[in-house]
């Protein structure tokens, strides 16, 4: 019962954060703010949603698979965001708004 309530709360919060991330990625004014909205909520939403499913699944092979998925997503998601932000910052692309001028690099 408590587990059900907890898992539903986590799923609801996960859905909320996922949606907020989407909204942020669409509405915020420039690349870096959008990236910040998308990457943070990506991690939190994933954690909460998969955690909610895990509580429902109980101790089974499914939980272990979900843990593995979570582990890989937690590792690759922030790295991908970092790599992307880094590439945007280093590029001398003038159409990346808000990018500080590329210093000799």
């Amino acid at each position: 019962m408590i587990v059900d309530a907890l898992s539903f709360t986590m799923l609801a919060l996960g859905g909320f954060f996922v949606f907020m991330g989407g909204l942020g990625a669409l509405r915020l004014p420039d690349l870096y703010t959008r990236m910040h909205a998308a990457s943070l909520t990506d991690s939190l939403g994933t954690l909460l949603t998969l955690g909610g499913i895990m509580l429902q699944a109980g101790w089974s092979l499914a939980t272990i698979k979900l843990l593995t998925i979570l582990f890989f997503l937690m590792m690759t998601g922030p790295t991908a965001s970092y790599a992307l932000a880094n590439a945007a910052l280093l590029s001398d692309d003038k159409d990346a708004p808000g990018a500080p001028p590329a210093t000799g690099n």
């Binding site: 890989f72 590792m75 690759t76 790295t79 991908a80 970092y82 790599a83 880094n86």
Partner: protein
């Protein structure tokens, strides 16, 4: 409710497809194409095709994007504007054809109708006989590698031919790389420290997961095609991170060509051994004293052949694009 999700996904699919065709920037089109492929895989999954969704995931999200980007790096990425050709004729043709096809769909059985003609032919027999003849649970693998093994042999040969074709067109008679080209091939993403470390950490897991799909294919979703595509992505990841030269060193070209041919030959050899033992070509029941064990052995060997050829062909195609520099 799941049907409603499917409808939403299909609608997004159409929007993405239109955007792919309309956008003038080819890089953007490739990015949208990878979204298209993700949507397609989710749709396949909702339509109960787990194996197909897995293949689409490995191919569409991984290899297809990598190959398109590899080719785009060698050619201009913008479409020429205003080529001044008349647009109304093709538009009229496709509007008319779309109308005809949609009109024809009204005679089709609706989605999921169990009495549709497709479900009355051989499929029930496959579903009934797979547990009896092979004692395997994944019917898709059984049909792929045993019941319709001729068909799959043809597909493997097509993949082999395409891989060889890419190598012959691009890699043979290639002009030597300039100094700058060699420098580009030597570095890769070595200077991006964090992605490099995480990527290196990921490679063993990707290859391990590919092997799991290869050998678990008769019990769950998986098989040679999916495994081959995923292992190829792992090898390509190494080449992306450490530079093209280092990527080539772990699988030198002669070995790669040997693997391409070897996989297809293994497939044929299993069929011929079956013939020598008194069965038909690609009849595995004679491979062992117990027909069920023979079937399982044959399916394992054939799937291994498929996996080897798919892996090496995709890796060879990647190298052919990556080991070249844009024309001046």
């Amino acid at each position: 409710m799941v049907t409603a999700f499917g409808i939403a996904l299909l609608t997004l699919l159409v929007v993405t497809a239109v955007a792919v065709v309309v956008t003038p920037n080819l890089f953007v089109a490739v990015m949208l194409m990878s979204i298209f492929s993700l949507l397609m895989a989710a749709t396949f999954f909702i339509l109960d095709a787990a194996d197909v969704a897995l293949t689409e995931a490995a191919i569409g999200a991984g290899m297809s994007t990598i190959l398109f980007l590899g080719a785009l790096a060698l050619i201009a990425e913008r479409e020429a504007r205003g080529s001044g050709r008349r647009r109304w004729l093709p538009l009229a043709v496709i509007a008319l054809t779309a109308f005809t096809i949609i009109y024809a769909t009204f005679d089709k059985p609706r989605l999921g109708d169990p009495s549709a003609p497709v479900h009355q032919h051989v499929a029930p027999w496959y579903l009934e006989q797979t547990p009896v003849l092979m004692e395997m649970s994944n019917v898709v693998t059984a049909v792929l590698a045993s019941f319709r093994a001729y068909d799959t042999l043809g597909e493997v040969l097509v993949i082999l031919t395409a891989g060889l074709g890419v190598m012959l067109i691009l890699a043979n008679g290639r002009p030597d790389l300039s100094r700058q080209g060699r420098a580009a091939a030597a570095t890769g993403l070595r200077h991006h420290l964090i992605p490099r470390v995480v990527g290196q950490l990921l490679i063993p897991f990707i290859v391990l997961f590919g092997l799991y799909l290869q050998f678990h294919g008769e019990f769950g979703p998986g098989g040679g095609f999916q495994a081959g595509a995923i292992i190829a992505v792992g090898i390509v990841l190494h080449a992306l991170l450490e530079g093209e030269a280092a990527g080539r060193a772990i699988l030198p070209t002669p070995l790669l060509v040997g693997m391409m041919a070897g996989g297809a030959l293994l497939y044929c050899a299993v069929g011929i051994v079956g013939m020598l033992l008194g069965g038909n070509f690609l009849d595995y029941a004679v491979l062992s004293a117990d027909p069920v064990a023979g079937q399982q052995l044959g399916i394992h060997l054939v799937e291994a052949g498929v996996g080897i050829t798919v892996t090496s062909s995709l890796v060879a195609a990647f190298h052919a694009f990556a080991d070249r520099e844009p024309a001046a």
